[in-house]
């Protein structure tokens, strides 16, 4: 079936109207780099929105960028770098894991927002949803609407920006979005601390976060992976703590932390590379494997790791002080079920299948299943924007 192509909001509306009239369904796609996320779609047509592209207005001293959803992350990063600013939520790129990066494919800001993807700094600076100030979109009803605005402080009406972030294109087709930007840190360094086990690494990070030395990111690598990344400390696990800011401040704080927790200092250049690797889950992408992520209370992370079957061949890394766990395995439905059971027993968090190499998502739902009234409420929210189920329907859950 032919693709529909939209380069203006009016054309998006037209495409949705037409699809509604024909009782059909759409898969909304731009660069298509996030298709590994969620359930496989079997829509009647693809709505290609990659043409909704370009930065509309960027005022660095206002800390605000307005751009169209199809703008390539490469263009976004270039504009930010020119102004020495950043998206503080440190959007990861999964294209290196999926192999698309080697073909020069980059994702778009719309994809980042739709999947609410955030990197290591999320722990202290917030997620994509925290930087989304407003947007314009076409709903599954074929109606143009906007929410939020182009200013940083705004409580006028419901904060639909939060809802649209992480809705995987199931509620509306975004065009213009406004994001808050921040100055990029002048310098950064990391402290590498050897730990005898995973729980000890989570603990040392918690202790560091109970000091006023402003750690900005904290990850944990098992020894094998630390070795591969050139940061083996000799411990079974290595805790990596990143500090950012002006040079005098970073060196002062890292010296203080080193006096407290020991460990080695990783200079800026190596630190930047290491954190890019962690951000993009590169250490788990050496060979094609299924990839799971678990979002949990950082203090619960050791329980999730301990509950893994020791006979299972699983590689893992942890970010967000333990609050984000990545697991890679070749046939992962058993792993996924175990992660889901453990997370459910902890009552905070979820396990998501992020990438499958062996059609695992046909066997186990990629999103943690929703129960009873929560599922019903999600269905009603979907219906409020897309009553006929035109947009990416089924991407997240049955009918959603």
């Amino acid at each position: 079936m032919a693709d529909l192509i939209a380069t203006t909001l009016a054309e998006v509306k037209e495409a949705v109207d037409t699809t509604l009239a024909a009782n059909r369904t759409l898969e909304v796609r731009s660069a298509g780099t996030k298709r590994h996320l969620g359930r496989r779609l079997s829509a009647d047509s693809v709505l290609d929105v990659s043409g909704l592209s370009g930065i509309i207005d960027y005022q660095p001293e206002e800390l605000v960028m307005t751009l169209r959803a199809g703008t390539s992350m490469g263009d976004v990063e270039a504009a930010l770098a020119d102004a020495r600013q950043m998206l503080a939520f440190e959007p990861p790129s999964m294209t290196r894991v999926t192999g698309e990066a080697s073909r020069g494919v980059r994702g778009t800001i719309g994809g980042v927002v739709a999947a609410n993807l955030s990197g290591p700094r999320r722990l202290t600076a917030g997620a994509a949803r925290d930087y989304m100030l407003g947007f314009e979109a076409v709903s599954g009803r074929g109606e143009l609407f906007k929410s939020g605005g182009q200013v940083m402080k705004n409580v006028t009406g419901y904060d639909l920006s939060k809802l649209i972030c992480g809705s995987y294109g199931t509620l509306a087709v975004m065009d213009q979005i406004t994001l808050k930007t921040l100055p990029a840190p002048e310098t950064s360094q990391s402290l590498l601390v050897a730990c005898p086990d995973f729980a000890a690494a989570v603990r040392v990070i918690a202790e560091i976060f109970a000091t006023p030395h402003e750690p900005g990111a904290a990850a944990i690598l098992p020894q094998v992976i630390a070795g591969e990344e050139g940061v083996d400390t000799g411990g079974a696990f290595t805790a990596i703590i990143r500090l950012e800011g002006i040079a005098a401040s970073v060196s002062d704080r890292i010296t203080n932390l080193q006096a407290m927790a020991g460990g080695d200092i990783l200079p800026m250049e190596k630190s930047v590379t290491l954190w890019q690797q962690i951000r993009d889950v590169q250490p788990l992408a050496k060979k094609p494997l299924d990839l799971w992520k678990v979002s949990c209370a950082p203090g619960d992370a050791p329980k999730i790791v301990d509950a893994l079957d020791p006979n299972m061949d699983v590689r893992m890394i942890a970010d967000w002080a333990g609050g984000l766990l990545w697991f890679a395995a070749s046939r992962s439905d058993a792993l996924g079920r175990r992660l889901r059971e453990t997370v459910a027993s902890l009552e905070s968090g979820f396990a998501m299948l992020v990438l499958d190499v062996a059609a695992t998502r046909e066997k186990i739902p990629p999103f943690q299943p929703l129960k009873g009234p929560m599922f019903a409420l999600h269905r009603r929210v979907k219906s409020a924007f897309d009553p006929r189920g035109v947009l990416n329907v089924g991407r997240m859950h049955d009918g959603i």
């Binding site: 529909l4 109207d17 005022q59 609407f145 906007k146 402080k153 939060k162």
Partner: protein, 495 residues
């Protein structure tokens, strides 16, 4: 302000309703005497008063759920209320609605340093969260000026900010989880102690929903380590435009201060008369710029900021040399509202946001509106994020002055939207700005928001008459009209 027509049939059943409510919650948790209900007839927007049908003060989440379930089944409206400090009338009672007060939910349930969060009941005050963790060096960042009294449940409902949100964000950025009770009496949990929503971000949508989607029955808040030091600069300018430029220059230099506040001449002098903070009386604009963090960093940045503001034309610069002096700088700003209250019998506090670069335009617009309406206006701004708090001075005892002040306020908010800004930065829409929503939003924008309301509360029973200028029935909002076969763009590819 026109509120929805009260349902006389519900009012007629009042005695029976109160009897039933007393069987759902302990009898002394229902207040129905006119005299006792007076304490609940308004929130911080005290120009509007209304006695509720009855006040219910439940003691457990199960009781909240039971009250709401019964009200839902019997089509009785509910207005939720935290500490009643809303400045926009979010907790204004309705004559035919039960006022559901969360005041008894005043316990902190858990302090969890491993996960750097506090779990609390919704009636706990904002400041009590910080008090509970400060001995261990932690604090809760959002600091609305009412923090001594306002409740954290109310903070979620209003997405409260404060003077430090430029660096630390609003409530929505410091919230990890909530438990809510829906109008149907269902208890649901969104978020938890983990960081990201795995599905629709319903916690995000609840935050700032002004009590229209559900009642917050528990919160999990992120707490942070208190910065090692804080220092402030007090900077005078003889021109508000130059002060505005200085604010932009600081940020353009890559510096995000913890707070960046501006006051105009009238506010400076009112504050100075009141607290004697040593403010430069002759200045047309005053900036308070606070930097916090490790001492080395703060000292270095203070120096950079001083250079920037001098270059921008500062006429006076003072740098705090002690904690005492820093607090003195803030004393004037923090007492600006009561200080203005001393120079005028009444004032209206407005709350719009504009793109920061439009500040000089806005100052000129306000000066001309002030002349047009014959009313004085004092200005305090959260300058870092463009959030304005113009205080319109008037005398309610002079016939027509309240109305004139309200019209003046509406014109200011209209100007905010015209300049690319919004109606409210932190006080909420409530009833106060309800009828101005059409300035910022189209009919379709507002209908889409109301459809979300329908997903939570299809009967419009929860806090009706707030936020939205027109109430549409959910059935009407849900209708979808498809023009079959009408294809106005034949050049588009078709299936």
């Amino acid at each position: 302000m026109l509120m929805p027509e009260p349902d006389q049939q519900v009012i007629d059943r009042r005695d029976q309703i109160c009897r039933t409510l007393r069987s759902i919650v302990p009898a002394d948790c229902v207040i129905d005497s006119t005299e006792s209900m007076r304490a609940f007839d308004a929130d911080g927007l005290s120009a509007y008063r209304q006695l509720p049908l009855a006040v219910v003060l439940p003691e457990t989440v199960a009781q909240i759920a039971a009250v709401m379930k019964w009200c839902h089944q019997n089509e009785i409206k509910i207005v939720p209320r935290g500490a009643g400090t809303s400045l926009s009338g979010g907790a204004l009672p309705l004559a035919d609605a039960v006022l559901l007060g969360l005041g008894k939910f005043n316990r902190i349930l858990e302090i969890d340093y491993d996960n750097r969060c506090v779990v609390a009941q919704p009636g706990v005050t904002n400041l009590a969260i910080t008090h509970a963790v400060q001995a261990d060096g932690f604090y809760y960042a959002p600091d609305p000026s009412s923090q001594i009294a306002c409740s954290v449940g109310g903070n979620v409902a209003e997405n409260s900010g404060g003077v430090h949100c430029l660096k630390y964000g609003l409530t929505t950025n410091n919230l990890l989880g909530i438990e809510i009770v829906t109008m149907e009496g269902e208890i649901l949990r969104f978020g938890g102690k983990h960081l990201d929503a795995g599905d629709y971000d319903l916690m995000g949508i609840m935050t700032g929903s002004e009590g229209l989607l559900g009642v917050v029955s528990e919160v999990t808040l992120r707490v942070l380590q208190k910065p090692a030091t804080a220092r402030a600069l007090l900077v005078g300018f003889d021109d508000t435009g130059a002060a505005g430029t200085a604010v932009g220059d600081v940020i353009a230099a890559g510096i995000i201060p913890a707070g960046m506040e501006m006051m105009d001449g009238l506010a400076i002098n009112a504050a100075e008369d009141f607290v004697n903070a040593g403010y430069p009386r002759e200045a047309a604009a005053l900036l308070i710029i606070e930097l916090d963090g490790p001492a080395v960093e703060v000292d270095a940045l203070i120096e950079r900021v001083e250079g920037i503001v001098r270059k921008a034309g500062a006429t006076s610069v003072r740098v705090s040399q002690s904690e005492e002096e820093r607090n003195l700088f803030w004393a004037g700003r923090k007492s600006a509202f009561p200080a203005v209250g001393r120079i005028s019998p009444d004032y209206l506090c407005m709350d719009g946001t504009i793109p920061r670069r439009r500040l000089p335009d806005m100052m000129r617009r306000m000066a001309s509106l002030s002349q047009q309406y014959g009313l004085r206006v004092a200005n305090v701004f959260h300058a870092g994020d463009g959030n304005l708090h113009p205080l319109i001075l008037f005398d309610a005892n002079v016939a027509g002055e309240l109305e004139r002040a309200e019209d003046f306020g509406a014109d200011i908010l209209r100007s905010c939207v015209e300049m690319g800004g919004v109606l409210t930065g932190e006080h909420g829409v409530g009833v106060e700005k309800r009828d101005l929503m059409t300035i910022q939003f189209t009919e379709d924008d507002l209908k889409q928001q109301q459809r979300l309301k329908c997903a939570f509360d299809p009967g419009h029973l929860l806090n009706p008459g707030k936020v939205f200028p027109h109430l549409h029935r959910c059935a009407e909002l849900g209708r979808l009209h498809v023009h079959k076969g009408k294809l106005p763009h034949p050049d588009l590819p078709r299936f």
